[in-house]
């Protein structure tokens, strides 16, 4: 097996994480809002690029892939500007669930002959946190989720990953091929350089319709309703300890 890394980075286009969409008629209203790369995907991409920059002999290429509408091309162009070698889009207007996404990505990994898949631990819109794990299972590859540090051995055969777990961190080692999902503290993505972005716009992005893959993308889940979390009621000020205790008793907390 070749020791060179061929990294696949899946990217999802999501609503800008700092924006708050309105909910109307049990639907999230996204009209007119800014979209961007899912921040966890961006961190995964940034880590792949840093691996390449640190050791160019180790990484053969980075391929970015997105599943979504034609507008997802924007985030792929940005990925190329940041340092991905190539990018492809699986175009669909439909919403695709984690299992279908994982199946499609497994297909892409085979086509690209990838031996390392780095992806975000979850997307900030659906918060499913499933795709990476399902993908590892479908490919029967080892997986390291919630990575906060990634180190590739000098011969490029194994990877040591520090993972964030409850109350601390765990460091695990696995041999390639493998799947890594990125957590928040892995790195801080950089700004995209404008000259590189201009150049990236001229790069061809390989686009295929989702139907060409023959994967079953029929939804298995049904959204019953969407609602805002209840608004927290304002607190009250008490003047004495007695009053405080009485208030607690009244509310059944004591």
């Amino acid at each position: 097996m070749s020791n060179k890394l061929k990294i696949l980075v899946p990217l999802k286009r999501v609503i800008d994480p700092l924006l708050k969409p309105k909910i109307s008629a049990s639907k999230i209203d996204l009209t007119g809002l800014k979209f961007t790369t899912n921040p966890f995907c961006d961190i995964a991409l940034s880590e792949a690029i840093q691996l390449k920059e640190k050791n160019s002999n180790l990484v053969e290429n980075i391929h970015a892939v997105s599943i979504g509408s034609a507008k997802s091309k924007e985030i792929l162009v940005a990925a190329i500007a940041k340092g991905a070698n190539s990018a492809s889009l699986i175009e669909t207007e439909k919403s695709v669930e984690p299992l279908a996404v994982a199946k499609l990505l497994a297909e892409v990994a085979k086509q690209q002959k990838s031996n390392l898949i780095m992806l975000g631990k979850q997307s900030i819109d659906s918060d499913a946190n499933q795709t990476g794990q399902m993908l590892a299972a479908l490919l029967n590859w080892p997986q390291a989720t919630f990575a906060s540090k990634v180190e590739v051995s000098s011969d490029g055969t194994s990877v040591e990953v520090t993972r964030e777990v409850d109350g601390g961190s765990v460091t695990q080692k696995a041999s390639l091929p493998m799947v890594i999902t990125a957590d928040l503290r892995l790195n801080n993505p950089r700004f995209v350089s404008l000259p590189k972005l201009m150049k990236a716009k001229k790069t061809k992005i390989d686009t295929k319709k989702i139907e060409e893959f023959g994967t079953d993308i029929t939804p298995r889940l049904e959204v019953e309703k969407v609602e805002e979390p209840p608004v927290r009621e304002p607190g009250i000020m008490v003047n004495t300890v007695e009053e405080f205790v009485a208030e607690l008793k009244k509310r059944g907390a004591l």
Binding site: P17, G32, A78, P189
Partner: protein, 512 residues
């Protein structure tokens, strides 16, 4: 929170406490005016109608209002009053007028020229308790507020309703709208929305004799008589206390884009500005320029606090600009911005740059610009000059000042025995407004003598203004002659005397 930007709080970077200012009265040649001294009867009178919480005489409470934000000016007031209504303000002023007690109105106390703190024992009248949003017309976008409403509070309130406040500035989290209007604050979006002389539609103010001037119109057009409200905009508390303001608010832009660009010469900055005006037209909402020294100061200030932020650009270009567009159609705006960026790079005006990909990056880029002012005080103190100059000579002033300091061996980044740490320039190119900051380890006469009157003479020579948006206050009262001729000064003085015959309003400042 997903970006470094959110983890960095520039707001913690207030000037270091190491430089304790002396009393202004001891530091500068100024004599107390012929005012009455506050006595027990006065206090008793104020107590008769003010809530006890709103009348403060404790040293602890007064310390905070006696000193300005930069800790450069320190007054000796013995009384802080915090009225809760316009009629309370009126009663206070009428009494002070009758008794000839000097007063200083105070908003958020974020001013940079010592205008909001007492010089001697003036009574501090804080507007902080006049803090209600009075009304808002959703169709015309006219907002009427109490003077003490904090700028950011009003802006957030408006944003929820699809509008924004037409003024935006670094101190928005603490400054008050009354103070903004009284000082005619300029800020970051003047280029797009114009000055307060245009956006303020009406003003309610209490005159020194206690009369209430009700000019709280919400009309855009009103050609009846003299436009008296204009006198209060930029009056710095010299003719009355603003208690209410109505202002025309523009709709919130759906689409905001920010680019940060690196340029190799000031020549290129000017050419890029011209290009931006043509290519971006009505969506251009900010055009800010900062020099390399400014970026280095922010970087060093963050490091001092064990914080680090990613510089927008990989290499430190001598001039860096922030361009913001605000429009209603994101695709349309992006197209315009991209065309402009391509054009400016093809013409080799812009050599490097980044475009914010999301709101987090927009905020991160703005923090690099807005963080400069706060960072500049981290070495002990800062001499701030806020000047209007013709664009071609703007940075000549920065270079001339820095050369003078270096020639006299007063500036060094590494040698801490030198009083000056760095000389930096940044500002609103779109408004012809430069901020020249001389970051110092201590305030010294030696440095002051190098700076003044040199800076003011330079400005006078180029027909600029010694105060573009910070006002006159205590700091620049002697420098007015460099921007206004004797005839104008005489007229200002006469107007002031007509409103305030006893001279009790914010004395020792604004006009000699």
């Amino acid at each position: 929170m997903f970006r470094l930007a959110q983890r960095i709080k520039f707001s913690g970077l207030a000037p270091s406490r190491s430089v304790r200012s002396l009393f202004t009265a001891d530091k500068y040649p100024v004599k107390r005016g012929n005012y009455s001294e506050l006595n027990a009867e006065d206090i008793k009178y104020f107590e008769s109608f003010l809530n006890s919480k709103d009348l403060l005489t404790d040293k602890k409470d007064l310390d905070a209002v006696n000193v300005d934000w930069m800790q450069k000016y320190r007054g000796q007031s013995k009384l802080l009053l915090k009225p809760r209504s316009v009629s309370e303000v009126s009663k206070i002023l009428k009494h002070c007028h009758d008794r000839k007690l000097a007063v200083v109105p105070q908003g958020g106390n974020t001013g940079l020229v010592g205008g909001s703190v007492p010089v001697f024992d003036e009574i501090v009248i804080s507007l902080a308790n006049l803090n209600k949003i009075r009304k808002f017309d959703d169709v015309s976008g006219t907002l009427t507020v109490d003077a003490g409403v904090i700028l950011q509070t009003a802006d957030e309130w408006l944003r929820e309703r699809g509008y924004i406040f037409p003024l935006d500035l670094g101190a928005k989290g603490s400054c008050q709208i009354g103070g903004n209007v009284a000082t005619n604050a300029g800020g970051l979006r003047l280029l797009r929305y114009g000055s307060l002389h245009g956006t303020v539609l009406g003003i309610e103010a209490v005159l020194p004799n206690g009369d209430i001037f009700n000019g709280l119109s919400t009309l855009r057009k009103d050609n009846t008589g003299l436009d008296l409200k204009q006198l209060f905009i930029g009056s710095e508390g010299s003719i009355g206390i603003i208690t209410g303001v109505s202002v025309l608010c523009p709709p919130k832009s759906n689409s905001v884009n920010v680019a940060w660009l690196g340029l190799d010469s000031y020549e290129a900055v000017q050419k890029t500005f011209k290009l931006a005006k043509n290519a971006l037209g009505e969506i251009l909402s900010s055009f800010e320029c900062v020099d390399r020294a400014s970026m280095e100061v922010v970087d060093a200030a963050l490091k001092k606090h064990d914080m680090e932020a990613q510089q927008p650009l990989e290499s430190m270009h001598p001039y860096q600009i922030l361009i913001e567009t605000s429009g209603s159609n994101s695709e349309h705006d992006e197209q315009k911005l991209n065309a402009f960026l391509e054009n400016s790079m093809e013409n080799e005006l812009v050599v490097d740059g980044v475009v914010a990909q999301d709101e987090g990056q927009i905020q991160a880029l703005w923090q690099w610009r807005e963080g400069i002012s706060e960072s500049s005080g981290k070495w002990g103190g800062v001499y701030k000059y806020d000047v209007s100059l013709p664009l071609p000579v703007m940075w000549d002033l920065v270079k001339a000042v820095e050369n003078r300091l270096i020639e006299r061996n007063l500036q060094s980044k590494t040698d801490s025995t030198k009083p000056v740490y760095a000389t930096i320039g940044y500002g609103h190119i779109g408004d012809g407004n430069l901020h020249l900051n001389v970051c110092v380890r201590e305030y010294t006469k030696e440095v002051e003598d190098v700076l003044e009157p040199f800076v003011f003479e330079f400005i006078a020579k180029h027909n600029g203004s010694v105060s573009a948006e910070h006002g006159v206050g205590f700091q620049k009262v002697h420098a007015l002659q460099y921007s206004k001729d004797a005839g104008a000064l005489k007229l200002i003085k006469e107007v002031k005397n007509m409103f305030d015959p006893h001279g009790i309003m914010n004395p020792y400042k604004f006009i000699e």
